[in-house]
Structures are given as C-alpha cells and as structure tokens.
Amino acid sequence: MTPLLQVHDLAKFYGPRRGCEGVSFDLWPGEVMGIVGESGSGKSTLLSCLAGHLPPDRGEVIFDTRGQGPRDTLTMSEPERRMLMRTDWAFVHQHARDGLRMGVSAGGNVGERLMAVGARHYGHIREQAIDWLGRVEIAADRVDDKPQAFSGGMQQRLQIARNLVTGPRLVFMDEPTGGLDVSVQARLLDLLRGLVREMGLSAIIVTHDLAVVRLLADRLMVMKDGRVVEDGLTDQVLDDPQHGYTQLLVSSVLQV
C-alpha cells in the first residue's frame, strides 16, 4: 500500500520569520490526522502549504493520484493542481462563508462543484445536490434558499456537502467546528465521523480544540514555533505526552 500523502521536509518562511519548518509525515488512506498548537504555532501555515493555497519555500507534498500514482503537487502544472482541488481534494474552511458562494442557492453551491468536474444534466445535478443536503441533515425544502438564510451550523454542513459531493479522497479542514455552539459542534463531529468511515476519507484537521481531535483524529501532530514537537496516536499523545510543551498544553485544558 502507498501512503495517500507523503510530506518531506516542508518549510515556509515569512521573510526572516519561520512559518513552519522541517515538517515530514505520511498520511495513509482512511487516516484522520489532527494538527494542534496555539495561535502562531504554524499549523494554519502548514495546512495552507499542504493544500496548495500557499507556496512553501522548500519540501515535497506527494499525493497518490488516481491516474498517475504518486506526484509532487508542488511541481505540478497549475491546471493539474486545480483539477486535483476540484476532484480528489477538498478544503473545509473555518468560516463557511469563505468556502461557500453566499449569493447562490444551497443546491447551487453543491451543484457547482459537480459542474466543475463536468456534470451537465440539470436533473441529475439537482438530485445529487438534494441527496447530499439530506446527508448533512438539511431539509430538501431549503434547496433553493441562499446560505445567508442559514444558521452557522447549517452553513458549515452545507460547506461540507459542497466539498464532499465529488467524492474526494483527502479533505483539509481548518477549525471545522470553531465558532459553533457546543451542541452544533457535537452534531457536526458525528456527521464528520460517519462520512469519514463510510467514504473511507483521509483528512487533515487543524484545530486548537483537544476534545475535537480526541473524537475525530486517529493521529496527532503537535506544533510549536513552526516545528512539530511531538506526534503519535491521538490518545497516546494526549494521555502520555512526552514533550514539555504538549504536557503544558494538555494540563492547561479546563475540565468540565
């Protein structure tokens, strides 16, 4: 078996300041990896570099493509990378409005991604859009409403439907439950777990919420000052942290 994603020695600097440096890991099909760290630790920079939103200064991000096997996404042509982003990759933003088209109906938001990969039959697109809205628990009678009319939790679920409708194999998520009520968070977590299991998705999730990674991620990477200070099985890193910073992070969580 080949890893779905192989990252070698990735680095990104903002002038003299380190965004992230020396990051290497393999992600296997079906694995969910969490990246935690405080603000400014480099976790969002790393995610942006991995997802092709930000060009790193050094390193390789090798993705096991369907057609041609492992390819370095950083040296791919721009059209190839765009195609990857529309098909096998998905990106769920913290703020749903960054990942949705707010002036387009819910059905349109989902259908648009299908059309971007060549779907043309209006009836089929609408049917699939309604099916996906159902899977993220949005009632079919809301298909023509615009996301502005949705609550924060619904917008986030719509963003997930829009991203997953094309059957991607790798999903990047930036604080997917951030800014949502706890009750809405729980529902979203359950939804994501179910989708990961049923679709065999791999995912990389950036968050500062240790409870979220415990429930969602198989593996965990802890970042500080742009470097990975510890990684391993999620429950092992949280319950038996080896690095001083991880110990501080875990012991600083308020108990409910």
Binding site: W28, L189, R197, R219, L233, D239, G244, Q247
Partner: protein
C-alpha cells in the same frame, strides 16, 4: 496471543522540574488464546498503567509488548490503529463518545468500522444491549445522560460487539447489580471459549476467581522508589 517481555516505563514531568518517576521495570506476562489473567496489586501499583501500555495508550520506554504479530512498544501509529480495529479490544471504566449519538450506534460503531453491513451491526448491537438489560426505549438516546451503571453496560456492549481475539477489561463488573454482573461474567466466559486472550482488572474477588485462570501481582514490576 499477548506476550510482554522486560517492559519498563517512567514519566518525565517537564513542567515540574523535569522530575522522572519510574513506574514499571522488568514486567513479564504471557497470555495465550482462551486464557484470562487478572492483574492484582494495591492501588497505584501499576495495573492500569500496564493495561494502557498494552493498548498503546501509554508509551513504553523499553521492552516488548507483542499482541499477535504487532509489537505495540515499537509499532507505527497506523499499525496500532489496525490492531485496535481488528485484534485488540479495550473496555475502559469510562465511556467516551461523541455527544448526541444514539446508544445503538455507539455500540455498533466498532463493527461499522470493520465494514460490517449496517443492518447486521445494528442487530448485533441491539442483541447485546438487550442482553445487558438496557431498556429498548433508551437505544435511540445518547448514553451521555445515562446512569453510571448503564454507561458501563453500554461500554461493555461496545467492547464485545466485535469478537476481538484479545481483550483488556478494566473493572468490567464494578457498579453492576447481581443480574448484570452475571451477564458480563457470561460474556467473558463466552469470549474465552471462542479463544480470546483476556487481561482484566477485577476488584470483585468472586468474579476474578470465577473467570480468571491466573493472577499476576504487578507489585513485582514496581520499581524500587529511590528516596
């Protein structure tokens, strides 16, 4: 099935002056298929620590923990993930689940992960819940609001949903009434009969005497504390 050799473990507390606390040294244990071994020793002797190390929840400093073909002390995360899905089950004392997920799905999840068809997985979950006397009207509710004893039974149902070849049981009969205690002991006996290797912590001495073939006092593995 489970073979432990010369296992040792210490905790280093980086934020408390770098204090190093040795908690285990030279641990040995062998559990074959169909065997049930009880870990004994006073509170703090390291029973739960050893159990957590076998599950890969705590890191080992040295030694080997063979579960089937996998050395948990050295295995990559993805190998331990596979081991936990297919081979090694763990019934902890506390239920940890996503809030709002129905009890029936919580119990069926280990089977769904293995690719068992949804109907079959739910049927198995329901059979176990019924056997453990969880009233049917609770199956569609999240177990987070259940009583301690009910949560524990949900946890046990979840742990026994898949026929794991190796099982770790942390106080499986604590806080259960006589009827449910009997059901759990029968589940353990059935698991042994199908060849599961089991390691358990039982404060319930009668339960221990009934299901366990041997006792291992972990005090023998507790390092002498330097003054």
């Amino acid at each position: 099935m489970i073979e432990i050799e010369n296992l040792s473990k210490s905790f280093t507390l980086h934020n408390q002056g770098g204090a190093v606390i040795p908690v285990m040294a030279g641990a040995h244990l062998h559990v074959g298929p169909g065997d049930c071994v009880a870990l004994t020793g006073s509170s703090g002797a390291g029973k739960s620590t050893l159990m957590r190390m076998i599950y890969g929840n705590y890191r080992a400093n040295a030694g080997r923990i063979l579960v089937g073909e996998t050395d948990v002390a050295r295995a990559a995360p993805r190998d331990i993930i596979q081991l936990r899905r297919h081979t090694l089950g763990y019934v902890s004392q506390f239920l940890r689940v996503v809030p709002r997920v129905p009890t029936r799905d919580v119990v069926a999840e280990p089977l769904l992960i293995l690719g068992t068809p949804r109907e079959a997985a739910l049927a198995r979950a329901e059979a176990l819940l019924a056997r453990l006397n969880i009233p049917e009207r609770l199956w569609s509710l999240s177990p987070t609001t259940f009583s301690g004893g009910e949560q524990q039974r949900v946890n046990i149902a979840r742990g026994f949903a898949h026929a794991f070849p190796a099982l770790l049981l942390d106080e499986p009969t604590a806080s259960l009434d006589a009827t449910n205690r009997e059901v759990v002991l029968t589940l353990i006996e059935e698991a042994k009969a199908r060849g599961a290797a089991i390691i358990g912590i039982f404060h319930d001495e009668a339960a221990r005497a009934r299901v366990c073939d041997r006792e291992v006092d972990v005090t023998a593995f507790t390092p002498a504390r330097a003054a």
